[in-house]
Amino acid sequence: MSEATARPSGTADKGPARAGGAYQKLLAFAGLMVLVAGFSLASPSFLRTDNIISILQATSVNGVLAVGVTLIIITGGIDLSIGTLMTFCAVVAGVVLTWMGAPLPLGVLAAIATGALVGLVSGTLVARAKIPPFIATLGMMLVLKGLSLIVTGTKPIYFNDTEGYTAISQGSVVGRLIPQFPLPNGVLVLFAVAGAVAWILGRTVLGRYTFALGSNEEAVRLSGVDTGRWKMAIYALSGGIVGIAGLLISSRLNSAQPALGLGYELEAIAAVVIGGTSLSGGRGTVLGTVIGALIMSVLTNGLRVLSVAPEWQTVVTGVIIIAAVYADQLRRRGAA
C-alpha cells in the first residue's frame, strides 16, 4: 500500500487558486469599464478631465467609509453607525479646531481618535457583551446622531479660522506637479487608506484574524486566540478610518454639518457588497470595495450628466446595480 501514499495526494485537491488570479482581477473592472464606456459614448462631457476628477472626488468619502466597513464585514459583522460616526468625528474636529482653537494636526488627531474610540465601544458591545453587530451599531448610530446635534446645538461648525483645513480634501498636491490634472487630495487619501487597509488585510496578523473570524469564529477561539480582543481592535481600526472620512467630508464642506450622515452607511455597505465582499464574512478585498464605490459614483454622475430625470435615475441605478453584480456572478461561475 505504501507506494500509493505518495501519489494520490498530488492530484487530490484543486490546488491553490492563484493561476487565473491576475486575469480575474482585471475582469473585475469589467462592469466599471462597461459603464464608463457607455457613458462616454452617450455624452461627450463625461470623459472630460474635470468630470473625471469630480467622479473621483465624489468617490472619496464613500470610498473611505466603504474601506473601513469592509473590515467589519469580512469578520461577518456589519456597522450601521459609520454614517453618523463620520459626522460625529467631523463635529469633534470642529469643536477642537474652531471652538478651542487648537492647531490643525490636533484636530485631525481628535477626529481619528474619536472614531477609533467609538469603534472600540461598538467592538466591545459586539465582542464582550455579545450584542449582535446589527443592534450594537444601530444603537450607536442613533446615539451618535443625537450627540452630534446636541454638541453643536444643531448648528454647523465652520472651519473658517483653521488655515489649511479645506486643503485636506480639496487642495491638490498632484495639481502642483501636473497642472492639467489637479487631482484633489481627498482622492489621494482614499488611495492611501485603501492601500494601507489592503496591506493590513494581506500581510498582518490583524488582517489574518479579520478573515479567520469571519470564516469560523469558533475555530479561531478553539485555536487559543482571544477573539474578543482582536474583534475590538478591528472595530477600532475601522472607526479610525471612519474618522478620516469625517475629516474628508467636513474639509470638503468647510463645515461639520451635524444633521448629515444618515444613509451614508447603506451606500458604503452597498459599495462593499458590489465589490464582491460577502456579507456572511470570511472573504473580501479592498480593491473590490474601491471598484464598488467607483461603480456607484460613475453611475450617479453619468446619469446626471445625461440629465436623466431624477426619478428615472433611481430606477436605472437599481437595475444597473443588479445587472453589474449578476454579470460578476456569471464571470465567477465561468471562472470557477
Binding site: P8, A12, A17, T204, A212, N216, V225
Partner: protein, 500 residues
C-alpha cells in the same frame, strides 16, 4: 512511565443529558490510551473538559500531579494539551498554512506575518506526513480527508505533551491511516501521551497500550490492550455480545437493472464512467482518496451535474440537473460530509429526519402532520440507537456518531429505490455499524439498489455483492463480492498508461 494527566470524578450535565457521571481517567507519558464507547457515551465531552472547551460541573484535573484550572482552550494549550476535534474546526476561507499556524503566526516587524516561513514550515510538516498538499491551498478546496489531515498537522505543530485525537481516522483511508500511525509511534517514542478515540476496532489493537471504555457517561473499565480480546472490549462497550454474520451473496443475474450509467464525464474528475446496478444489489465503490467516487455520486445525484454521459433509471433515460430531479427519479444520496451537506444543525432531529420527505407528511394546504413525524422520528431513534433526550433536540448538540445516524434516518425515511451511501458509517460505533449493515442488507433483499462508497475496505468487502474500483476519475474494474484486498488495491492504483 509516570502519570501525566489525571482526571478525577469529572461530572458534566447538559440540559436533558447527564453526559459525564463522575468519570476517572488517567494518561501516562509515552503511552497511547484508547478511549472507547458507543456513540454518545461521553468521550468527546470528556476530552473537551480536558482541553478547556467545557468546564466540568464537578471533579478535578491534574497535570503532573498538580491540580490545574482550564478555563479556556488557550489555557490548555499553554499546559501542553493539544486536541484534534472530532468535528473539524477549520477556517475554510483560509489556506492550509494559515490554518495550521492560526494564533501563532511567525511575525515580522509591524505585526506583519512571515508568510514565507509559515508556508515553509507548514510544507515541512505536511511532507513529514507524506502529504503533497500545497500549503497555500484554501481549505475549502480540500476533500474531507485532507481537511482531517490538516487538522492533524495543526495539532502536531503545537508540539504538545498531551495529544488528544478524537476520531482522527473517521474520514481517512488505509494509506493515510498508516501514515498517521507512523506519526503516533514517533510521538510515543518521544514521550508524548496520546489519547486516541476511534470506532475502528482493529486500530485499537494496532496502536494502543491501554483501553478505557465508557458507557452512558460512566467509566466502565480500563484494560491493557494487548491482553484483552476485542470481543471483550466490545462487550464492555455495548453491554452484550454482538453477532455480525455476512449474508450469502444472492444470485442477481435475473434481477432487473435499476440504474445504468453510460460514459458519465465531467472535466478531469470523471472520465467516461459506465456501470449498471441491479435491484437487490449492493455495489461497493472502492478507491483511494480523491479517486472520484464522491464526484461520481454527486454527478449521478445532480448535485454537480455531469458534462456528458447518460443515466438510465429502470431502463428509461432520465435528465438529472438537480438533486430534486434525482429524488423525483427515486435516487437518494447520503453525503460524506454530514456537517456541511447533510444536516441543518440548528434544527431538531424530527425536522432533519423529515427533511427529504416533508411533502409526503403534509396535507393539501401544506400543514405538516407533526404527530406522525414525531412517531417516525422516535421510531428511528430507537432503531438506530440514537442517543438523545428526545426528537426535539437540536442536532448540533448530538455526538458526532449520533448525527451521522440522523442523516441515515433521513434517507431511510425517504424510501428511494436507488440509494447512494457515501461513507455511511463515518464515526459510528461497532454496535450501530452492525445494525446499519443489517439494515442495508434488508433493504437490498427488499429490492432496493444500493451503492456504498467506503474508504474502509473491510466494510466494502463485508457489504458488497460486487465491488467497483476507481482510480483518478476512471472506473478501473468491477470485481465480484468475494474479491481479495490485493485485487482491489491493484485496480485502485491502476494509473493511466501504467496498465491497460
Amino acid at each position: 512511565m509516570n502519570g501525566l494527566v489525571r482526571m478525577e470524578g469529572i461530572d458534566k450535565r447538559f440540559p436533558g443529558v447527564h453526559a459525564l457521571k463522575s468519570v476517572d481517567f488517567d494518561l501516562r507519558a509515552g503511552e497511547v490510551h484508547a478511549l472507547m464507547g458507543e456513540n454518545g457515551a461521553g468521550k468527546s465531552t470528556l476530552m473537551k473538559c480536558l482541553s478547556g472547551v467545557y468546564q466540568p460541573d464537578a471533579g478535578r484535573i491534574l497535570i503532573d500531579g498538580q491540580a490545574v484550572a482550564l478555563p479556556t482552550p488557550k489555557a490548555a494549550q499553554d499546559l501542553g494539551i493539544g486536541i484534534i476535534h472530532q468535528e473539524l474546526a477549520l477556517m475554510r476561507d483560509l489556506t492550509v498554512a494559515q490554518n495550521i499556524w492560526i494564533g501563532r503566526e511567525p511575525r515580522l516587524s509591524f505585526g506583519r506575518i512571515d508568510e514565507a516561513r509559515q508556508n515553509a514550515e507548514a510544507a515541512a510538516i505536511l511532507s513529514r506526513m507524506n502529504l503533497g498538499i500545497d500549503p497555500r491551498t484554501p481549505v475549502s478546496r480540500l476533500t474531507i480527508a485532507h481537511q482531517q489531515m490538516v487538522e492533524i498537522a495543526k495539532a502536531l505543530s503545537y508540539r504538545s505533551r498531551v495529544l488528544i485525537m478524537d476520531e482522527p481516522t473517521a474520514a481517512l483511508n488505509d494509506a493515510e491511516i498508516a501514515e498517521l500511525f507512523a506519526i503516533i509511534a514517533r510521538l510515543r517514542a518521544e514521550g508524548v501521551g496520546i489519547i486516541y478515540i476511534s470506532h475502528k476496532m482493529d486500530e485499537i489493537r494496532r496502536i494502543s497500550d491501554r483501553v478505557t471504555v465508557m458507557r452512558d457517561g460512566a467509566h466502565v473499565g480500563t484494560v491493557a490492550a494487548a491482553e484483552t480480546p476485542i470481543a471483550r472490549i466490545i462487550a464492555m462497550m455495548v453491554g452484550r455480545e454482538l453477532t455480525d454474520e455476512k449474508a450469502a451473496i444472492p444470485d442477481l443475474s435475473a434481477a432487473e437493472t435499476a440504474l445504468e450509467v453510460r460514459d458519465l464525464s465531467r472535466g478531469p474528475e470523471l472520465r467516461g464512467i459506465s456501470f449498471s446496478l441491479r435491484r437487490g444489489e449492493i455495489l461497493g465503490f472502492a478507491g483511494l482518496m480523491g479517486a472520484g467516487r464522491t464526484e461520481l455520486a454527486r454527478a449521478i445525484f445532480g448535485a454537480e451535474p455531469a458534462d456528458a454521459g447518460r443515466i438510465l433509471v429502470h431502463g428509461r433515460e432520465v435528465s438529472i440537473r438537480s438533486p430534486a430531479d434525482a429524488v423525483r427519479e427515486g435516487i437518494g444520496y447520503l453525503s460524506e460530509d454530514r456537517k456541511h451537506y447533510g444536516l441543518a444543525l440548528g434544527m431538531d432531529l424530527r425536522a432533519n429526519i423529515a427533511m427529504a420527505s416533508l411533502p409526503r407528511h403534509a396535507d393539501a394546504i401544506g400543514r405538516i402532520d407533526e404527530q406522525a413525524l414525531g412517531r417516525i422520528a422516535r421510531d428511528y431513534i430507537e432503531r438506530l440507537r440514537i442517543r438523545t433526550p428526545g426528537d426535539w433536540q437540536e442536532v448540533r448538540l448530538l455526538s458526532g456518531g449520533n448525527q451521522q445516524k440522523v442523516v441515515i434516518a433521513k434517507w431511510l425515511l425517504r424510501d428511494c429505490d436507488i440509494l447512494i451511501f457515501d461513507e455511511p458509517t463515518r464515526g459510528i460505533d461497532v454496535g450501530a455499524k452492525a445494525e446499519i449493515y443489517r439494515l442495508l442488507g434488508d433493504l437490498a433483499a427488499g429490492g432496493k439498489a444500493i451503492i456504498v462508497i467506503s474508504s474502509e475496505l473491510p466494510e466494502v468487502l463485508r457489504l458488497s455483492h460486487r465491488i467497483a474500483v476507481m482510480c483518478e476519475g476512471r472506473l478501473t474494474g468491477i470485481l465480484p463480492g468475494g474479491a481479495s484486498q490485493e485485487a482491489i488495491m491493484e485496480l485502485a492504483t491502476q494509473r493511466e498508461g501504467a496498465a491497460a
